[in-house]
Symmetry: C2
Subunit: 306 residues, 2 copies
């Protein structure tokens, strides 16, 4: 066995993302325990079902109603919505032993910091997921597209645990890689999420195609990217201006795609306003960046989201 | 008779504003003809009704279905929505003789310019109306509050015609005054309308009280005012910063007031996006002002309004 193998794993936040990555690891033989509420009985009876690439995988997942029942593990996969982070204060301690690693699969900025401040930076990893998933029924996940996951260590280059997790994910058939600049990767992803997720809600239900087709909104998307680039650079992440142009260009093929935040908003679910807009605004402003468009967008989103 | 008396008057755009000011002038003995469509038969039969200060005024208004029927007059009161300005190209010529004056009671920037470019600046006046009105039934106007009207000449200090119109309005019981800096007055009004009318729609139905109660949105309202102040100053209007603070302060007493643009939007009616946001943005930007918040707000409003 790989000495860096993740060991025993708990998944906290068993939505589509947690069930997909945790389920794939379990299907490949990993020791994965899922904290579940709504889907608990269904998964205990029938396991998890993952529909992926034309196959239907049946995973005999171990689901628990409480973290006490799970007990200490070697790795906790945090896949809650970032809006629910406060719940971690009670959920994580029973899962921890001295060397338990924590990996957040959440969106935006501030989640690694949340974990590091409470349980120590040395055990914190972060991952960016590029994946399209749907939870289509209790315990049933539909994997629509992509799946790449980039794993890094918080505040330092990817260490042995990040490499071990990537090995395990690859062994489970998932395209995975390590990244040394985890926070830079988060900023690169945010350069897209800030304008497109934000304008999709602020323009009252605009798809990516709608934003791009409106010359004015497209210009504002690009201007929001420039504000983000300036902030990222002041924070030490040297992302070239051409990256923003490339992000606009590559988005044209997405057509009537609804961003995840737009879907959340339309379904009346919480939107990760602080992780995607608030924290980048605060960090950028502290670093001396002027972000007037992001500021307006952030305060509008705070007002119009539940 | 006052040599500056407005003489014969036509009202184009017989909504609440046109009917109120035109109706009050008619009630005081002015020769006023109203261009009407929907309310024509009703007003021909029963006249106009103005409920004001506990009184119900019955005005035997002269209503016409066409400008040709009205023919040339000495003063045209333009009270259409600014979004309908293109209609003036056909409506105004039959009303004009060589010295006919035109006074626009419309909101925002660009309306005097529209008239001046087509029919000559020397005959153009503008007026700002501070009034709360409702058209509660065909031909029936409810005057709720205020009523002050400021009249100026376009591109020059208030001339004899502006004074003559103010005299006539005062004679009709309306609080009226001349202003020498018409465009500066428009900017002063816009400093309130840009943030409050704009955020009321962009925040999906926020009242003035809602905007002020949300610390973030209140800050954005003030920041939008600063952008407008900078633009106004670059355009030669020396409005002090304290005016913006005063505008915020005086708004607290308005409570759950819905801005006129919000009401238009909620009723599915056109919103004067170009006059209130587009034209100030264009004029300010041309003068070298940076208006990033207004730019974002403008493009969002263009997208979400009919």
């Amino acid at each position: 066995m790989n000495p860096n193998s993740p060991g025993t794993i708990a998944v906290v936040g068993s939505g589509a993302v947690g069930c997909y990555y945790g389920g794939m690891l379990a299907h490949a033989g990993g020791d994965v325990r899922f904290l579940m509420r709504a889907d608990l009985e269904k998964v205990r009876r029938d396991g998890l079902t993952i529909q992926t690439r034309g196959e239907t995988l049946k995973v005999a997942a171990r689901a628990s109603a409480s973290v006490e029942e799970i007990g200490p593990v070697d790795l906790v996969i945090v896949a809650l919505k970032a809006t629910a982070n406060a719940a971690l204060d009670a959920l994580l301690p029973p899962l921890l032993h001295e060397r338990t690693a924590l990996v957040t699969l959440q969106n935006g900025l501030g989640n690694e910091e949340y974990l590091a401040q409470r349980w120590g930076a040395e055990r914190v990893l972060g991952a960016l997921c590029f994946v399209c998933l749907n939870r289509i029924a209790p315990g049933v996940i539909e994997h629509l597209d992509h799946g790449t996951i980039s794993v890094g260590s918080f505040g330092r280059p990817a260490g042995p645990r990040a490499h071990g997790l990537v090995d395990a994910l690859q062994g489970a058939g998932i395209e995975a890689k390590t990244v040394d600049g985890l926070v830079e990767e988060r900023w690169r992803k945010l350069l897209w999420n800030i304008p497109f997720n934000g304008l999709s809600i602020a323009a009252a239900g605009a798809t990516v195609g709608d934003v791009l087709a409106d010359e004015g909104l497209r210009g504002q998307a690009r201007a929001l990217m420039s504000e983000g680039l300036d902030a990222a650079r002041r924070l030490g992440h040297d992302i070239p201006e051409s990256f923003a142009d490339f992000q606009i260009e590559r988005s044209f093929s997405m057509g009537p795609y609804r961003t995840s935040s737009l879907i959340d908003w339309q379904l009346g679910r919480p939107v990760e306003v602080e992780a995607i807009w608030g924290e980048p605004l605060r960090q950028g402003t502290r670093a001396g960046a002027a972000m007037p468009r992001l500021e307006l967008l952030y305060h509008l989103l705070r007002k119009v989201t539940p």
